[in-house]
């Protein structure tokens, strides 16, 4: 377990993008991006998910609590993370989307694939 986390200290911080990580339980990691999850921040998000999965964590919750805005690239990156996590035998859920994020999920019909949870607790339950 400690070895799994040690790798994260070597991650380069991308400009403009802050993604906090929190180990919610032994098996689940919460990613909390901040600000806009859009075309400019999507690559850093994808990379962070990739690193987590390579390090052995495939059960992920993306906490949208501090995400102000999402576009199709941002959601595409979350979908990419979902696919990677499932390929690794895990899953990815999203929690606490704001009105803007809910709107884009609805417009793209991605709320079927990325079922939004209103709270972190609900998203973590059942993992």
């Amino acid at each position: 377990m400690p070895a799994r986390w040690a790798g994260f200290h070597h991650i380069e911080q991308e400009d403009h993008v802050q993604i906090d990580l929190q180990q919610a339980s032994e098996r689940v990691t919460v990613l909390a991006p901040k600000g806009r999850l859009d075309m400019s921040s999507a690559p850093a998000f994808r990379e962070r998910v990739r690193q987590l999965i390579e390090a052995g964590t495939s059960q992920l919750v993306v906490d949208f609590g501090e995400v102000s805005f999402v576009d199709s690239s941002g959601l595409g990156a979350v979908i990419g993370g979902l696919k990677l996590s499932r390929q690794a035998g895990g899953d990815l859920r999203i929690a606490r989307p704001n009105q803007q994020v809910l709107l884009v999920l609805d417009l793209t019909s991605l709320n079927r694939v990325l079922q939004p949870y209103a709270s972190l607790e609900e998203a973590l339950a059942g993992f």
Binding site: D38, M39, P43, F69, S72, K83, A88, T108
Partner: protein, 147 residues
């Protein structure tokens, strides 16, 4: 069982100075920041605001076009002009970047888990008109959302 995953595609990655890459990323992020700032200023200058959902839809379309321009046309300079009329709001973009080659129109996304390709559909869903034309060396985008 975990299958081996080739997560890095060598063909997509050219060796380039880390600094140059970071500057490009920052330039793209700055351009998108500027679009969002412009939208915020635009709303501040309007007396009777449309409701929040309407504004969000307009912003979604504007952002998708801006991201499309930044990602594909990669211009050094992009101009955006937002205007309000009695019955509509309009966003006009011009840039001197690369020509935009439209992907084939898709009535619907067949792959539910597609990671790319939703942007234009999203813009067209959120707004009433999305038009593109190239005049000489200049790309022109025009978005119209009726009130």
């Amino acid at each position: 069982m975990r299958a081996s995953r080739k997560l890095s595609r060598a063909s997509d990655r050219e060796p380039r100075p880390a600094e140059e890459h970071a500057l490009e990323r920052r330039a793209r992020a700055d351009q998108l920041d500027a679009v969002h700032d412009t939208l915020a200023q635009f709303w501040e200058g309007i007396g009777a605001l449309p409701d929040e959902r309407w504004r969000m839809l307009f912003e979604v379309a504007v952002s998708e076009i801006a991201a499309n321009i930044v990602e594909h046309a990669r211009p050094a300079v992009m101009n955006v002009r937002l205007s309000a009329a009695a019955d509509r709001m309009v966003a006009e973009f011009t840039d001197t970047g690369d020509d935009w080659e439209a992907p084939p129109e898709q009535a619907e996304i067949l792959d539910e888990l597609a990671e790319r390709g939703r942007g234009m559909t999203l813009a067209r869903t959120a707004c009433d008109e999305v038009a593109y034309e190239r005049v000489g060396a200049v790309n022109h985008w025009r978005l119209v959302k009726r009130l």
